[in-house]
Symmetry: C2
Subunit: 337 residues, 2 copies
């Protein structure tokens, strides 16, 4: 079978790879229906994170189960499944606290931008849809594999609740998903920081009540104007750069929380947080914790997080998908198998 | 009148100072009944924070109102009052969010280890007791001025709720108050990290279910043993040193929160927090937010946070109070006027 392999900076190739097989009795092998490129994949694509050797890449997927190990009980061949970007047993003490991304027996995948994928811990990772999904649901189901659950994690971590004021820093697919999450959780003021019109449009469709295109002092001034002069109850930091993190600290009010989900590439000024009584929570999203609820919302067509995909390509054109994301020609690219 | 003035490292003197007077119509002047020495005062006493010039010191007090400005409506001469270690108007947008320590119009005091104190923003800072307190209630009322509310803030910030597992790092008056707060908020496992027997005794009286005397790897191993191997839901960091903060990060489970109230003297490893899905919240305690509830509990004798005072001296012996705290001969010293 074939799959994407990153060889170095701006060098992703679609190449022949070994066919995945059942290794552990808790494994499943799925035939990919759709995969995609993550903003976090771009850290390596852009050379910000090093690529030591040719490495299979990708961690988002939906697919149909082809094979399961003897110990798998909750999914069976033929099931359409959604799973998170990390596998988890969903039974350990950490999973029982709802933090499956930190599962004591979990880990990552061996490249999901591929025709087939081995899923360890299948029972604790995958969730079957109630039936064969309509084709138009595929993008939203795929978004649950990472970005929608990651935006949700930002909002939950930041304590968003009915009536909250929320600022979302970052207008990538995760930031936009954060807007949707904040709206679902009852926030009444949702400020999306975005300079890009196509993303502003999605943000508004997802429930943003205000768009702030400016950054720095001017962006701060506009947010303060919208939040009684004190900053927002919750800030969803969906970028991870030092600049975005510093801006988030300014934008949140005393007693408020920054929900962190951008992969960190910069420190946080913890003394400033302390004296301002500003909290931080978050990290890698426990997708499996949120999947049942969000899959239900997607299945009932109450949310349409798949709108973050604005370009669809065949899986074989994965290299072009990286280029389109890198050059910001696309918010997020869906790859069809 | 006389009050404490810090002249430099280990040099606190009880000296003549100008009589406080009403400056703003929102001021009150109180005659101090009791004051005390805070762990945070020791940063200057020990020379860790610099003393630039002779400075009145102290920020904890209870007293009787002597005089109020024309705009003061909620307290009157003769009232016995408790107030926080910072003043606040209790009406601004930040105060309305319950973060009075960050009041837009608040600030500190001009030395409360004194016979009389000027209290700015009297209505937003002071709370009168329902009547003349019995003498044995004075220590507990005084503790509300800082340490009990600070311990409470640690527990609230860390999200302590019924059934929580909690570790308290620091066995000073604030840490012990954190134990009491955790018990009041329904925590069922409360682990006090303490090597000092007198403090262990108070911790147990306050509700600690376990004492861990070890630190570092050995202390961590003991906490893991008590928390299903994953760490506690909440850690109350009541010290502020780099060592205590690093230990707190180890002790909290994924998805848990560190409630920070120790004045920061060390950075937090924010990347470690992110990958572990560990949150931090807290800062300087909004005493005024917690005063009504905690004063009610003290008045009804449901809690006795005054147990943290294990030495009582006349105010004029303030220098000895600093020595006793510095040498850890006392947990906390009450100064009677």
């Amino acid at each position: 079978m074939r799959g994407a392999i990153i060889h170095g900076t701006r060098d992703v190739r679609f190449e022949e790879r070994a066919e995945p097989v059942i290794v552990e009795p808790t494994d499943a092998v799925i035939r990919t229906v759709a995969a995609c490129v993550c903003g976090s994949d771009l850290w390596r694509y852009r050379g910000i994170s090093q690529v030591q050797r040719p490495t299979p890449i990708g961690h988002e997927y939906v697919g149909v189960v082809e094979q399961v190990g003897d110990a798998v009980t909750t999914v069976k061949p033929g099931d359409f499944v959604v799973g998170g970007f990390l596998h988890s047993d969903n039974t350990c003490a950490v999973c029982r606290k709802g933090m499956q991304a930190n599962c004591l027996h979990g880990g990552g995948f061996d490249g999901c931008q591929a025709e087939k994928i081995r899923i360890p811990n299948a029972d604790g990772t995958l969730l079957a849809t109630p039936g064969e999904p309509d084709a138009d649901l595929i993008p939203s189901l795929l978004s649950l594999s990472d970005v929608m659950c990651t935006g949700w994690h930002a909002a939950v971590s930041a304590g968003v609740s009915p009536g909250s004021s929320v600022v979302v820093v970052g207008d990538g697919a995760v930031g936009l998903s954060g807007v949707l999450a904040a709206a679902q959780l009852g926030a009444t003021t949702i400020i999306a920081m975005s300079r890009h019109e196509p993303r502003q449009i999605v943000a508004k469709e997802f429930g943003a009540t205000h768009i702030v295109a400016e950054r720095g002092e001017e962006g701060l001034a506009q947010v303060l104007d919208l939040t009684e002069g004190i900053g927002a109850d919750a800030v969803l930091e969906c970028v991870g750069t030092e600049e975005a993190r510093a801006q988030s600290v300014q934008l949140v009010r005393p007693g408020g929380i920054i929900g962190l989900v951008g992969v960190p590439h910069g420190d946080l000024p913890t003394d400033t947080l302390f004296w301002g009584n500003k909290g931080i929570r978050g990290g890698i999203a426990p997708v499996r914790a949120y999947l049942p609820h969000l899959l239900d919302l997607v299945w009932k067509r109450e949310i349409d997080p798949g709108k973050v995909f604005d370009l669809t390509l065949p899986l074989s054109e994965v290299a072009e998908a990286y280029r389109a994301m890198d050059e910001r020609r696309a918010i997020k690219v869906l790859l069809q198998n």
